[in-house]
């Protein structure tokens, strides 16, 4: 008899997410649903506001990938107003972007995702001497893996972990689960890095604050450039950035890289982690400027896991629908032609497996009806995965020299074929590889900035005028830490007439479409075998591997596209917006 399992809240993510699956007698997932349970409606709020205010407002979509929305929203305004910002400003923005990516990936791996791979309780039984020696297997220069470091880690964390009941943030997790694969010594290495990473993320946040004024939610971008000219022209300030960057690069290379390599070694035989993805289509967009016409990551599309070719991204092929989303219109192909008022039908009364394995009464997803605040975006009718893995794969297949080298090195060291990247482990590795690419090449942008300032160019901002009698439209697009993000704006009467953000987690977390096609989250869970349905660690590990950012994902109101110049934004307010 099939059983229903609800995981709500999914913790260690941004936002509010529910996962619900139905398993058969063998505990294999036969149905899977992802539901976002919060709606905030920020695009609605953007309407009627001064275009210069909106990037700051959009930044408040998410405080984890803080800056992503600020940057893309500012770029959308600049695209609309026909502004070309100074080269210095582009590079400063890129440096802030590097800090964001490094911060985001490190925090994700260690503080949000690591506990799915690392058993803290097991770590406490490790032999510190053995662990210290083992660390050299994965890197020549290990970090925080001395026996003294380990002794402190065991002592600090031991106090929490020894008490199974209601004690601190490590309480009541799935310790001892059968799919934890690391040895006690390996667990200890990773746990030490969990604590070390708390310090590193603070430093990388400072890196961004050097140019951003603060973090989270930096405040130094304006339409037309950046405001932090004093910091940019201050050699001590620049030096501060460089030193912190190098510290972070060292951590990425000798802790993050080493830990993922270690995880790959042990988990490459764990079925729940190596299970093929449900969706093997990937999409990414050019990002991370290093110099003039030089970007670290490429644009492109990979279909059906075919690593022999890529396709160009044609934004006009993006559509969205709300068949299973809590919005009023059901039109599968042309939702923009109808009203998109929120229409919360909620959950239905039902039963599922409770924490003790007994059947309990719960509020369940109705798979026939609507069940999420997230819509279902499609590219030419296909579900797509976006994110660091997509970005890395696209650049890899396109022969991006920097990327090819790093990916091949990793595959060789891990002893897996490229096809192994189409898995939960691959997604986690792809994120790390993206961080390593930034660690290895990010300073190119820094050096180019120095060279440009040295040449006498100190411009950081260009003036512009918003003509109230004119209408403008524009888009800001590129990959952010969680994948491809685009912000779309129309300006009329000097204020924002329509606004839309198409965000990464929407692509990954969206519900089924009208054809019954599942998105990446749901697709990945299908066919998954769960060892113990009262402790669904396998589900959480898969979902976390996407680095969910659900506050982002629910912002999409609508999108359309036959041509890039033809789109409609936010039909909730019936904004005629196709020109």
């Amino acid at each position: 008899m099939s059983k229903r399992v609800i995981v709500d809240p999914i913790t260690r993510i941004e936002g509010h997410l529910r996962i619900e699956v139905v398993v058969n007698d063998d505990n294999i997932v036969e149905e899977a649903y992802a539901s976002s349970t919060l709606w905030r409606g920020l695009e609605v709020i953007a309407k009627g506001r001064d275009p210069r205010n909106v990037p700051l407002l959009m930044q408040r979509i998410c405080g984890v990938c803080t800056y992503s929305h600020y940057l893309k929203s500012t770029m959308a305004m600049e695209d609309a107003l026909g502004i070309k910002i100074p080269y210095n400003a582009e590079l400063v923005r890129s440096l802030m972007d590097q800090a964001l990516f490094l911060h985001d990936h490190i925090v994700h791996f260690y503080h949000l995702h690591a506990l799915d791979w690392v058993d803290i309780v097991s770590a406490l039984s490790a032999d510190p001497v053995k662990a210290s020696e083992l660390a050299f297997k994965y890197t020549d220069f290990p970090i925080a893996t001395g026996t003294d470091d380990f002794a402190r880690v065991i002592d600090t964390v031991g106090k929490f972990a020894k008490h199974p009941q209601g004690l601190g943030p490590f309480a009541n997790a799935y310790w001892g689960h059968s799919t934890y694969r690391l040895t006690p010594e390996q667990n200890l290495i990773a746990l030490s890095h969990y604590l070390k990473a708390l310090e590193m993320q603070r430093i990388v946040a400072q890196m961004q604050a050097i140019f951003g004024g603060k973090n989270p939610h930096p405040q130094s971008l304006v339409v037309g450039g950046v405001t932090c000219v004093m910091d940019m022209l201050d050699p001590a300030r620049m030096g501060e950035f460089m030193v912190k960057f190098k510290k972070l690069a060292d951590f990425v290379n000798n802790a993050y890289y080493a830990d993922v390599l270690m995880a790959a070694e042990m988990y490459k035989t764990e079925p729940s982690v190596m299970k093929p993805m449900g969706v093997k289509n990937f999409m990414a967009f050019e990002s991370m400027m290093l110099g003039r016409k030089d970007y670290l990551f490429d644009s492109g599309i990979i279909m059906n896991g075919d690593l022999t070719k890529t396709f160009d991204v044609d934004i006009s092929k993006i559509t969205e629908e709300a068949t299973h989303s809590w919005y009023a219109d059901d039109e599968a192909l042309h939702p923009y032609d109808g009203k998109t008022n929120p229409n919360h039908t909620g959950f239905v009364d039902g039963e599922s497996i409770g924490p003790d394995g007994n059947v309990v009464h719960t509020k369940n997803i109705d798979p026939e009806g609507k069940y999420s605040w997230i819509k279902s975006p499609r590219y030419d009718g296909h579900p797509m995965e976006v994110g660091p893995l997509a970005s890395t794969l696209v650049s890899y297949v396109k022969g991006n020299k920097r990327v090819v080298k790093i990916v091949n090195d990793f595959l060789e060291k891990a002893g897996v074929p490229a096809a192994a990247l189409f898995s939960t482990l691959g997604r986690t590795a792809g994120r790390m590889l993206q961080a390593k690419l930034i660690a290895d090449h990010g300073l190119t942008a820094f050096n180019n900035l120095i060279e440009n300032i040295k040449s006498g160019d100190t411009d950081t901002c260009v003036p512009y005028v918003i003509d109230k009698d004119k209408e403008y439209k524009g888009v800001g697009i590129g990959d952010v830490p969680r994948g491809m993000l685009s912000h779309w704006v129309r300006i009329k009467n000097g204020v924002v007439e329509n606004y839309q953000a198409v965000v990464p987690s929407t692509w990954n977390a969206g519900p089924m479409d009208a054809k019954g096609q599942r998105g990446p989250y749901e697709g990945d869970l299908m066919g998954l075998k769960i060892a113990d349905i009262t402790q669904p660690l396998e589900i959480i590990r898969i979902i976390h591997s996407y680095d969910p950012c659900i506050a982002c994902a629910v912002h999409v109101m609508d999108t359309k596209g036959n041509k890039i110049s033809e789109y409609k934004v936010d039909p909730l307010y019936d904004g005629a917006c196709s020109t």
Binding site: V7, D8, P9, T11, R12, E14, H16, L38, W39, R40, G41, L42, V44, I45, R49, R52, N53, L56, L57, R60, G63, T66, I120, K159, H163, G166, G168, P169, F170, A171, N172, L198, Q201, R202, I210, G213, K214, N215, P216, H217, Q219, S220, V226, T227, V229, M230, P342, H344, F347, G354, P355, T362, K363, D459, C461, N493, G494, V495, I540, A551
Partner: protein
């Protein structure tokens, strides 16, 4: 005379604190704490001297005389008696992230870690039923003793259905209400839980409101988008010391943090007084660090201690980065602070003219307060007009 009465006040205050700390000491320690927070601090590599220095800085931040430092240190040591429940409502997790920025091995965060974080969705290991159990256990076990910290606005539109959490689909507002009933103290962390925040900006599609609007328990607001970690920890300490709510302003913000305007202690204040302004971002004035009033700084209307505390361990703050204050710790600042890069008078939207622009407003009402010569006086006049304490 004055000095004497001040001393007397401090004496009685000190006695009250001592009593309070004694009271707290008599509370049983939480079960997982088999060493004092002081020991934990030392084990993390900080000397007693580091700890006292930190206590002294907190003492100064709370506007208490230096003689209170040992008491503050005492209070910190008993802080591990207080379990924390941190709820996420309609939010962006920025406030949690801000807290993370103070993380290991800074003393601030160590203390925070040591205060038992019983429920915090971003950081806790447990998910699903197990996460819910942690919340229920904490509410039951520490009834009347836990501190509730809430991040995010409370959606009340459509009967609160814009946020549900857990297998039973419980509404966010009901969870917030239930947890607030038996909390020892309630802190609204960030502008969203303090005042509704960004999702409550017009037209507020989800009916988001401040935490204080759904509970009749007193709520201490610690606004900011996000607030600095120092303000969060300081508010907690204040509670420990006084055993009661701190002195609050009209918006229930602790006065020790939100008493002064950004403008009052601004590092660019000299340029304001000298009439030296950035006219346009990127101009010579911007390179010289002139005042940002004319490019939209809301520092004169904003009450917070950013100019003193800064962010990210003192790395910077928006005005240092050449961007004016946006007024993020003020109620409804998204709607009331006008255009971010223009002085307040130039607001573009939600004006009587239907958002048709600054020129119309300035011309027809004639409140153009910015003139080349009288800017200082006018700005200060504007402050009193714009920033009255709530009725």
């Amino acid at each position: 005379m004055l000095a004497e009465s001040k001393d007397a006040t401090y004496d009685s205050l000190q006695k009250a604190f001592e009593q309070r700390v004694e009271q707290l000491k008599r509370l049983p320690a939480m079960e997982n704490k088999d060493k004092s927070i002081e020991e934990a601090i030392e084990e993390a590599g900080f000397s007693r001297r580091d700890f006292m220095k930190w206590s002294a800085s907190i003492t100064a931040m709370l506007s208490l005389p230096a003689t209170f430092t040992p008491l503050v240190a005492e209070a910190v040591k008993v802080a591990d008696r207080l379990p924390i429940i941190w709820l996420h409502m309609a939010e962006c997790t920025g406030c949690s992230e801000a807290l993370l920025r103070s993380a290991n091995p800074s003393i601030d965060s160590l203390i925070f870690d040591y205060i038992s974080l019983e429920y915090h969705e971003t950081l806790m290991a447990a998910s699903g039923w197990q996460a819910e159990q942690n919340l229920e256990n904490a509410m039951h076990k520490y009834k009347g003793r836990y501190i509730l910290m809430v991040e995010g606005g409370i959606p009340t539109g459509n009967e609160g259905s814009y946020l549900t959490i857990g297998g039973h689909g419980k509404k966010g507002k009901d969870i917030a209400l239930d947890t607030s009933k038996d909390a020892a103290a309630i802190f609204a962390i960030g502008t969203c839980s303090s005042f509704g925040g960004v999702q409550a900006a017009a037209p507020n599609p989800t009916g988001a409101v401040a935490l204080s609007e759904i509970t009749n328990r007193p709520v201490i607001n610690v606004p900011g988008c996000p607030p600095s970690e120092k303000n969060i920890v300081g508010t907690l300490l204040h509670y420990l010391l006084y055993g009661t709510l701190p002195a609050l302003d009209a918006y229930n913000r602790p006065k020790w943090a939100y008493r002064l305007r950004i403008h009052d202690l601004c590092e660019r204040r000299g340029h304001f007084d000298a009439g030296e302004f950035v006219e346009q971002f990127g101009d010579q004035g911007a390179k010289d660090g002139f005042c940002l009033y004319k490019v939209g700084c809301k520092g004169p209307y904003t009450f917070n201690n950013c100019s003193k505390q800064k962010f990210n361990q003192g790395t910077s703050w928006p005005i240092q980065a050449g961007f004016g204050c946006m007024g993020c710790s003020e109620p409804n600042f998204w709607d009331t602070m006008g255009t971010v890069n223009e002085p307040l008078k130039d607001r573009l939207y939600h004006t009587v003219f239907g958002g048709l622009g600054a020129d119309a407003t300035a011309d027809k009402i004639g409140i153009g307060i910015l003139t080349a010569t009288a800017v200082g006086i006018a700005a200060h006049a504007a402050i009193s007009a714009v920033k009255p304490p709530k009725e």
